[in-house]
């Protein structure tokens, strides 16, 4: 049955490449957040033509599987560059990964941020304008504090999906945990696949768990900005559930 000792033995060698996953994860989530804010701004302000392009971009990132997006980026990006006259001789798989994951994350996040922005009541904008706030002040002091608590759970989901998708980067040849798994399998003559993949699953579980915990801490800190006027519907749903449970339905 399961060889626990072997699982403990291979953990250090799996952890030794964890930084590849983490660097790609942090880079693409930071860049993705930045890009998604830009995309959301373009779509909310309805910038001519650009807004339509962004709609197209979002529908693309949401309807094409991430593996295919990775491959398209890896094979297609150098080609696109060569069309405008820049010739890249060695486009690294890691760069393609970061680019593809950034676009994917931005596409997902902008669908989180837009509804969150639109959920802030019109009266809030009007009140801020009436008090003579500059647009920048209005955004940083009135709008953003209300957008963040609404958007945080969605951002947490996007982060978890991103963690999942970093496990796919080995398909275009980045040597991450899954790459090490392949080496381990061939060095153990295919005797320990179950143990190896179970260890990786547990590692990813730990990463996701810590990401979830981090988001929950953020949510708690942002909760003080929550207004009671329907922005926090969670409590209501919980109460309803309790009533249903009591009724035995």
């Amino acid at each position: 049955m399961l060889d626990i000792k072997y699982m403990l033995e291979i953990t250090p060698s799996l952890l030794s490449v964890l930084h590849v996953t983490l660097i790609i994860l942090i880079a693409s989530s930071a860049l993705g957040l930045g890009l998604s804010i830009l995309v959301t701004a373009i779509r909310i302000k309805k910038v001519k033509y650009l807004s339509q392009v962004m709609d197209l971009f979002i529908s693309f990132t949401r309807s094409v599987p991430i593996v295919l997006q990775l491959f398209l980026m890896y094979y297609g990006f150098p080609f696109l560059l060569s069309m405008i006259g820049i010739h890249v001789s060695d486009f690294s798989a890691a760069a393609a990964t970061v680019l593809a994951l950034t676009l994917y994350n931005a596409g997902y996040l902008s669908e989180v941020l837009r509804p969150a922005y639109l959920a802030v009541e019109k009266g809030q904008h009007e009140a801020a304008d009436g008090l003579g706030y500059t647009p920048f002040q209005k955004f940083t002091r009135i709008i953003a504090p209300q957008v963040i608590p609404i958007a945080l759970p969605g951002w947490g989901n996007a982060l978890v999906y991103l963690i999942h998708d970093t496990s796919l980067i080995f398909t275009i040849g980045v040597a991450d945990i899954m790459g090490v798994a392949n080496t381990l399998i061939s060095s153990s003559y295919g005797a320990h696949q179950i143990e190896i993949y179970l260890t990786i699953a547990l590692l990813f579980w730990a990463i996701t768990f810590s990401a979830d915990t981090m988001v929950r801490i953020f949510e708690k800190r942002a909760a003080k900005y929550n207004l009671s006027n329907g922005i926090a519907p969670k409590k209501k749903a919980k109460r309803k559930m309790r009533i249903l449970v009591q009724k035995g339905v």
Binding site: P65, L68, Y197, F209
Partner: protein, 230 residues
Amino acid sequence: MFKFDVMAQDFIGILMVVPKTLLLAILILFLSTILGGVIALIQQYRIPVVVQVVKVFKSFLRGTPAVVLLYLMYYALPQIAHLLLKIVGVEFNPHNLNPVVVVIVTFSLTMSAFQSEIIRGAFMSVSEGQIEAAHSLGYNFMQTLSRVIMPQALMEALPDFLNSYMVIIKALSLAFLITVVDIFAQAKIMGAMSFRYLEAFVAAALIYWLISAILTALINRYELRLRKAY
């Protein structure tokens, strides 16, 4: 250069496997919905012990990428099947397990967590007044469930189910790792045959986009009709 005639050829070649992919996804949607329903019921009634197990199971599914789970299942499922069948007394060679079965089992499991959330949400959306009215009319528990709650919950959940369907179709793109041929795997094969990967991948992306556009249009029309009905 980018060759459009190669892409057109790839497009037609990939279209051949679209029905297979869609059928596989329907099967997975069906199985995961049943499993999700069971999970939702367990969580709703808070059956002791089982509810804790389900909680850990869901957390594990949320934490583990589908690829890792797919590989894990690919190697573990034959062994599990072998052990289970040995108890019943059936001789089963672990090497005979079809990878398609592995794909179906893995994605049914991963999707069941999503489906259980959708089902829970749909049941929540049925207002208490409906249930009270059913009780006052003398409906018993089963009648209330099948005649009042289920129809309304199903209407509510249908758009989300279509969305899950798209998620499954996309998730199937990982099946190529364990030699099951779906849309993406076919694109890789076509690309390898003509040595033109980019054309094949663009064709595959277009097909995914098309499927998604059709499903989104269906969801939108359905939601519009729902809103009209009230």
